[in-house]
Symmetry: C2
Subunit: 320 residues, 2 copies
């Protein structure tokens, strides 16, 4: 049986294998994903991001419990961008609450993706789609940090929850503009720690500036939680429902999803072309000779790039 | 006069304009870069990275003063990856020491780059090359944070200095493996603050584990500095010289630079292809129709990507 068929049939084993293929960049995944595609588009995708130690895993687990009580099935993907240097996993020591693992309505998967830029987002996107086809109502992507990888991952979600903790005042100040903007909902976790109110004020000041500048229709709420005790998690679930309703009613959800498809096509084209070039032209002795010529100043990378493109039939100007 | 000619002739104005072209992704930059290429390869490139607030700017300025006293000319590029959401600059309020600005042996430039993934690294690489052709002996790239963008930027440098500050014990613990590995030299800045010794111990423990695991020949030194007072900066300059000598004598410098050229060619090919696809095929009404078909489930992104590649004459399997 094909994996796609298995997944549509509810086989956790098929699902797990397909996600492994996605992790490993296995080319067999493509055909399975193509088959699953018509069965997707029903799941709602939530991203939970924030600095290491902010309590994202605990919050994800507690939120999942609330969503389960509301009758939703849930898929959780813990994205763990590998080091480009080691290729190794980071969150190996991640401990999950065992009661969630025993709930058949919940599927939890940690993904260690590797490879070229954008690969993390691509593989995560496909894993989300697989969970969508598998029938999960809500899919939560949990991701660490606020780098480009994480921002790319966040681009594939419908609602982004940014988790902060008190004592991060300086972080807010120095945060990249983009990080504030990705948040649809702010969570101040560990809100029983000193400085929670101050952090809330700082976020609201930043949001106020942002609102004036942009005329945003959705003003991100700031929810205080103590995830380990489950405090505030119902409020978070309610905020999530409100944001979803807002996106659906305003038509923004459709716009977002269209944009995402466009970016996905671009990314697929990109990764295919890169592999083609690397396999066919950028390996072997003749390419080493070209590199030597460049090192000695007889040739340059710009002319070489143009030459490579000519070999696949494209006579174009190199663009920065 | 062409910009390349001007730069080789020592014109700061030409240099500034070329870097602006690189920032703006101006296609005229390509020809100038191609002309400059044979005049490059002489500069030594240093990356200074670390969290916001670690004192990187001050450290860069002080290190530059020491290097100037040793007789080197210095170029400084402060990389400031724009938010993918606003396209705006982040470090607008950056204040530089005025005495450096008055030294004709120093060129300082803040770069706000935008655009697609990898664009920051590409533009920075070209700016470094322009400064190299301009005749700067040492080029320092200062970059904020530890995301994918920063790691990509670091890939183009010869020596990477990672700046940490006391009280970051937790950060070390949770740091991605790759961040530790990119450092050729560790700096504990603000070493007069409590916790400096503890941080040093933690770094050394991690390095010891790393060394055993990898059999690294270069063991990164840990240098304590108080940048605002200039303390420890001579030690840092000495460590930099040692690392440079190590890379040159071991042949690693050549290997690094060859690898970099390879990656650069790939990146040039990639950005050119993407622009081509976006301009020719991925805009206009017909593409909107395709997106609508995908949204309704009649088509899928994988088949569409393959179709696009066929249009540029490539009949290949889509790769994840």
């Amino acid at each position: 049986m094909e994996l796609a068929e298995g997944i549509l049939d509810g086989s956790v084993k098929s699902l797990a294998r397909l996600i492994s293929w996605l992790e490993d960049d296995d080319e067999r995944a493509y055909e399975e994903m193509r088959r699953l595609y018509p069965h997707t588009g029903n799941a709602y995708v939530v991203g939970i991001t924030g600095s290491p130690g902010a309590g994202k895993s605990t919050l994800t687990d507690k939120l999942t419990q609330v969503l389960r009580k509301k009758g939703y099935t849930v898929g959780i993907i813990a994205v763990d961008p590998s080091s480009p240097f080691t290729g190794g996993a980071v969150l190996g020591d991640r401990v999950r609450m065992s009661n969630l693992c025993l709930d058949p309505g919940v599927y939890i998967r940690s993904m260690a993706t590797r490879g070229h830029l954008g690969g993390v987002a691509r593989a995560t996107n496909d894993a989300v789609r697989a969970l969508d086809a598998f029938g999960k109502d809500i899919i939560i992507i949990e991701t660490v940090g606020v780098g480009q990888d994480e921002i790319d991952v966040i681009k594939i979600v419908d609602t982004t929850i940014l988790v902060l903790v008190p004592g991060m005042g300086d972080v807010i100040q120095s945060m990249k503009a983009g990080v504030m903007e990705i948040a649809d909902i702010f969570v101040i976790n560990k809100a029983d720690h000193p400085g929670a109110d101050q952090l809330e004020t700082e976020i609201n000041v930043r949001l106020e500036q942002d609102k004036q500048a942009k005329d945003r229709k959705w003003v991100p709420p700031v929810i205080k939680t103590v995830a380990v005790e489950g405090k505030g998690v119902n409020d978070l679930a309610a905020a999530l429902e409100r944001h979803r309703a807002y996106l659906e009613e305003s038509g923004e959800l459709e716009i977002k999803r269209k944009k995402r498809i466009k970016e996905e096509i671009l990314s697929l084209v990109e990764s295919t072309l890169l592999k083609l070039l690397q396999e066919k032209f950028m390996s072997g002795d003749s390419f080493e000779d070209i590199i030597d010529e460049i090192m000695s100043g007889e040739n340059d990378p710009y002319s070489t790039a143009r030459e490579l493109l000519k070999r696949i039939g494209l006579d174009v100007t190199i663009q920065q």
